[in-house]
């Protein structure tokens, strides 16, 4: 198990598209370049689309993991200024 330091946690369970992305984007804006945010979500489509969107914004996706039935965590390291 690698040990990633999480700088911020964001719980967006209950949110649907496009607000999953809106809140994730704002979450990344609130941390510094080099910091890591962990997003907890339960909207199935977002488990796929949020990592893709974060890569498109130029950030790194460190982990996508299904932690419970219907719940995922996505870890994103901010790589570029907003």
């Amino acid at each position: 198990m690698e040990d990633i330091k999480i700088d911020k946690k964001l719980d967006i369970r209950g949110q649907v598209c496009p607000y999953t992305l809106v809140r994730s984007k704002l979450g990344v804006e609130s941390i510094e370049v080099g910091q890591v945010i962990e997003i907890l979500l339960d909207y199935p489509e977002a488990a796929d689309s949020i990592p893709k969107a974060m890569l498109n914004y130029g950030h790194s996706v460190l982990k996508v993991e299904k932690i419970n039935p219907g719940e995922w965590i996505v870890q994103v390291r901010k790589e570029v200024e907003d």
């Binding site: 496009p18 809106v22 984007k25 704002l26 804006e29 914004y57 907003d82």
Partner: protein, 266 residues
């Protein structure tokens, strides 16, 4: 910026754009834009800026809504006939977005009030389409170093340019003086396709938003000309004139004056 639930929804398509984001949306909500004219151009410009959430929009217009305006001035309606255009537009924009503070200035713009009216705003939008006022606005913006997004329309053709005083040419660099009134189309000749100001106004609103968020390149040093019949957009370079009477090295215009000639306005 902390967004309310409502704002998060309203501006979601801005926030997810990398070039805008929450930070850009916050800049938009803090921006103060002044529109000269609530006519063909001012209506769509104000409409889109209000939708985008521009925090403060001032509208300077002393005219009242007439039936002949409704073919193209989309912020007004049969319900606002005879109302001041500034009030009618304010009502429309605030109904679209209550976040926006719209200030109706029911005054005619002239050399004595223009600097005081402009000084508190970040960006000026010219939607007047009459030459004396166009030059007055240009000169005031150069003096105050305010970005100016200028638009003009006639028949099936329109043009847009962005003037950043101190960084590129101004309107007088292109034409030092307004054309004599006789060369400007008379009212009978000055028809305009109703949708044309929509195209040009939307381009002006785009320029304003780009300036606010600081993304992309502004349309400075160029006149973008749209020919609706031929379906052509062409950019014409405007060179900076070192001898420009207002923005040149030794400006001869030191104070603002009003031109009294009668022009027909669209």
């Amino acid at each position: 910026m902390e967004f309310t639930e409502e704002q998060l929804k309203r501006y979601s398509r801005h926030i997810i754009l990398p070039e805008v984001g929450g930070k850009g949306q916050k800049k938009i909500s803090e921006a103060k834009v002044l529109l000269v004219g609530a006519g063909g151009l001012g209506c769509p410009v104000g409409y889109y800026l209000a939708a985008a959430g521009v925090g403060t929009i001032a509208i300077v217009d002393n005219d009242k809504v007439e039936l002949s305006n409704l073919q193209r001035q989309i912020a007004h309606s049969v319900k606002t006939l005879d109302m001041h255009k500034a009030d009618s537009a304010k009502q429309t924009f605030e109904a679209l977005n209550p976040d926006v503070n719209v200030i109706a200035v029911k005054e005619r713009l002239h050399s004595k009030n223009i600097l005081a009216l402009f000084k508190d705003y970040d960006i000026i939008v010219d939607g007047t389409d009459n030459f004396p006022t166009r030059y007055l606005i240009n000169d005031a913006c150069v003096m105050l170093k305010k970005p100016l997004v200028s638009g003009a329309i006639l028949r099936f053709e329109g043009q847009v340019t962005t003037i950043l005083p101190g960084d590129g040419p101004c309107y007088r660099c292109l034409f030092e003086e307004p054309p004599p009134a006789g060369l400007v189309p008379s009212c009978q000749e000055a028809g305009v396709l109703g949708v044309l100001p929509g195209v040009i106004g939307a381009l002006q609103a785009t320029e304003v938003l780009k300036l606010i968020i600081g993304k992309g390149k502004p349309l400075k040093g160029n006149l973008l000309i749209y020919d609706a019949l031929g379906v052509n957009f062409r950019k014409v370079k405007i060179p900076k004139n070192e001898d420009c009477p207002i923005c040149g090295k030794n400006p001869s215009i030191k104070e603002l004056t009003d031109l009294s000639e009668e022009y027909c306005s669209i």
